[in-house]
């Protein structure tokens, strides 16, 4: 904590507060009339920015292992000082737009590639990172898919992807052996499997939708892709279809079939809490991202396996979720050069590999230069899983916006409680979504 900084600014603000006029002149909301430079407007009263100060990295990686991993990666950064600032993910999610729109934002922030980043870019909140994607920039060698994923609507790059992962239905091999069951290939087989497990007194599905309601969107995304196809799914999230449509109703009809198999306690759990029943063999399966392994006790990780969400309509292309994580930088950053230097470091193959190994997740590196041959069989299977698929999506919020995600959270958690109330839920969802798209 730099006390000197506080006191210097403190003096400045204190005198302004006492003089009142200092505050009055900087009218909140730009007085709603004058020039459109809301940000420029404030810079006159702003304390001289410490362009030389440490680069601030605002991180949502609050689980102990990934947090420690990022700290250790940053310890190897030699080109400047970095202040790592970790805020618990659900608080971070709630405040990210405020961080970005602040006049003195953190420089680099962890978040997600895809529409969600594009959405912030379209509001002018993200720094143009195109130079990292050109020439010998750190991201220049990344795949075209990643490049388009990291691009804003105007074609500039605004994101630095550093790892990605797959989603699947995770289970314990030894548990499946005990229960004498096999992973399912088709939807009917899957429902039969759930039925069988329930007969045996095992909870078929675990899902933590308490403090992490977004988990419920996982099944929605998959069922929508399996019933209506990935193209419809993307268009729906872009606001081109109605949530009130027959197609979406068909998705929830399928969703309703698995609701009785989901652990009812999951409504009080976070996604992490919901891993425990799986590990304890009280619940059989969990549709979640590969990050699940970071919450599985070390001795049980080798027992974890996954299978693809079963196919419902074989005529549709197969879509899989492969969310991409990484960093973007704030447009208002006072240290854009420092931010880019740090991003370049984080995108390096060594940094990526170190982070993935130490965080204990089963994420995959985005850099083609990381040697993945030494990764665990589970990860190898994950790589193959994504290579075999026809289309890639990110996740509900990443394919739309954080704001649309809140409408999905409300609709889907409500649906899980009252699967019969579909009509009303979808009507409300659509009107909430319309408000988001209009806003």
């Amino acid at each position: 904590m730099s006390t000197s900084r506080i006191s210097r600014r403190g003096f400045l603000a204190g005198s302004a507060a006492l003089g009142v006029t200092g505050v009055l002149s900087g009218c909140v909301g730009g007085g709603s009339s004058d020039d459109d430079g809301g940000t420029a407007d404030t810079s006159s009263t702003e304390a001289p920015s410490d362009a030389s100060g440490p680069v601030v990295l605002q991180s949502s990686l609050s689980d102990p292992d990934p947090k420690a991993a990022l700290e250790s990666v940053l310890n190897g950064y030699t080109e400047g000082d970095v202040t790592l600032n970790t805020v618990a993910i659900e608080n971070y999610r709630a405040q990210l737009p405020t961080y970005l729109s602040s006049s003195e934002p953190p420089d680099v922030l962890t978040w997600y590639a895809g529409s969600v980043a594009r959405d912030y870019a379209s509001k002018g909140l993200l720094l143009d990172l195109s130079e990292l994607w050109e020439g010998d920039g750190a991201c220049a060698g990344f795949s075209d898919a990643l490049r388009s994923l990291s691009s804003a609507d105007d074609g500039t790059q605004i994101f630095v992807p550093t790892n990605y992962y797959w989603w699947g239905i995770f289970y314990r091999k030894s548990a499946f052996d005990e229960w004498g069951v096999e992973p399912a290939e088709t939807w009917d087989d899957f429902l039969a499997l759930c039925e069988d497990l329930q007969q045996q007194g095992v909870t078929p599905l675990s899902m933590g939708t308490g403090s992490t309601p977004w988990v419920a969107s996982g099944w929605f995304d998959y069922l929508n892709m399996r019933v209506n196809g990935p193209e419809f799914h993307r268009a729906l999230l872009a606001g081109e279809h109605s949530f009130d449509s027959a197609e979406v109703r068909a998705v929830l009809d399928e969703y309703a079939k698995i609701v009785p198999f989901i652990d009812p306690n999951g409504r009080s759990y976070s996604w992490q809490d919901a891993v425990t029943p799986l590990v304890q063999k009280e619940a059989a399966m969990y549709l979640i991202g590969a990050f699940i392994t970071q919450t599985v006790p070390e001795e049980d990780v080798d027992d974890i396996d996954f299978f693809r969400v079963p196919i419902i309509d074989a005529s549709l292309p197969v879509g899989e979720e492969a969310p991409t994580d990484g960093y973007f930088a704030a447009a208002n950053s006072t240290r854009p050069e420092g931010a880019k230097a740090l991003l370049s470091y984080l995108a390096q193959p060594d940094s990526q590999q170190q982070f993935i190994e130490e965080s204990g997740s089963s994420n995959l590196p985005t850099s083609p230069d990381v040697d993945t041959s030494g990764f665990s069989p589970l990860v190898q299977k994950g790589i193959q899983h994504l290579e075999e698929t026809d289309e890639i999506t990110q996740f509900f919020n990443r394919d739309s916006s954080d704001e649309l995600q809140t409408t999905a959270d409300t609709a889907l958690t409500r649906f899980l409680d009252n699967p019969d109330d579909v009509e009303q839920i979808l009507a409300d969802w659509q009107s909430a979504a319309e408000r988001v798209f209009e806003g």
């Binding site: 909140v28 909301g29 709603s32 809301g38 737009p97 405020t98 409504r267 704001e403 809140t406």
Partner: protein, 310 residues
């Protein structure tokens, strides 16, 4: 204890400032103006100026970047059509009545029960007051643990054979708001109790004695002799309760964040969500104005009473 004496003295003998006028200073020295103006300027800058800004923002659409766009009364019109706002408004009313009513009833009952000295009274009082020292966030965390599916609440219910009652208190939209309410009341009761205990000290015991001699029942004595003497405390309790309940934010935020699906949303949490999570600053400000209007009704009542009593 010294101030206690002052207070009860004032309560019975009336305001002591009657002898002032003649001696009062005619001219106000410059330094005294400074004494007043500095604090006043701070409050103007940090309370009144932001409040005015909030009003003007509520007529705009603004995402915090660029200039705000004037939209007139649109935000207020949208509020009327917003089902979550209606839930939040309804919940706020339920909260104010439930939180205020329960904590005042229990707090007053405990104060009366524990007013008379007996063995153990000090321990009871301290135990009941103790939750008050925890912040609402801590209280929220405590109760989140208790309400877990395998937490103490359900374990206790099952242990005494009430399995049917046990449920997921915070995940059930029918119970989430009330589950949070119980936690908030648990913390508040001790505070209200202490306020009333303080008030009961100022109650003249001879009056109650006389009533008892006349054959009045305990309830009659309380209703007609003791309670009227608690008027001053009642005003404070009323003000504290209304303000606390309209301000409630921490405990809901720590326990449910307004969920599941907005069933425990209060105006204050919904305002925070709109203003800071979704950065609809105009819309959030409009909700804040509604909270303000609710509060102002109560505040006016309070100020009118406070002035009249003077």
């Amino acid at each position: 204890m010294s101030s206690t004496a002052t207070v009860s003295g004032q309560a019975t003998t009336g305001p002591p400032h009657r002898r002032r006028p003649a001696a009062a200073v005619r001219r106000v020295p410059r330094i005294v103006w400074l004494f007043l103006l500095i604090p006043l300027a701070v409050e103007l800058a940090w309370v009144f100026w932001p409040a005015i800004n909030s009003f003007s923002l509520s007529f705009t659409r603004w995402s915090g970047v660029g200039a705000a766009e004037n939209v007139g009364l649109d935000n207020y019109r949208n509020l009327l059509d917003d089902p979550i706002f209606r839930t939040a408004a309804k919940n706020t009313v339920i909260w104010t009545i439930g939180f205020g009513g329960l904590s005042v009833l229990i707090g007053l009952a405990l104060a009366v029960a524990l007013n008379r000295p007996r063995r153990g009274v000090g321990i009871y009082r301290s135990a009941i007051y103790l939750p008050m020292v925890f912040s609402l966030v801590v209280t929220g965390l405590f109760w989140r643990v208790l309400y877990q599916p395998d937490g103490a609440v359900n374990s206790t219910l099952e242990a005494i054979g009430l399995d049917g009652v046990s449920r997921q208190w915070l995940a059930d939209p029918d119970t989430a708001l009330y589950a949070v309410l119980v936690a908030a009341v648990w913390r508040q009761v001790g505070y209200i109790m202490v306020l009333y205990l303080a008030g009961l000290k100022g109650v003249d015991p001879s009056l109650e004695e006389a009533a008892a001699v006349d054959g009045a029942t305990a309830w009659q004595r309380f209703r007609h002799v003791v309670f009227p003497q608690l008027r001053g405390v009642n005003t404070v309790v009323f003000a504290v309760t209304v303000i606390d309940s309209l301000r409630t934010f921490d405990i809901v935020w720590a326990m449910t964040r307004g969920g599941p699906y907005d069933s425990s949303q209060l105006l204050s949490t919904y305002m925070f969500q709109q203003g800071f999570t979704l950065v609809n600053l105009g819309y959030g400000s409009a909700i804040a104005v509604v909270i303000f209007l609710l509060a102002i009704g109560f505040i006016i009542t309070y100020l009118v009473r406070a002035t009249r009593e003077d």
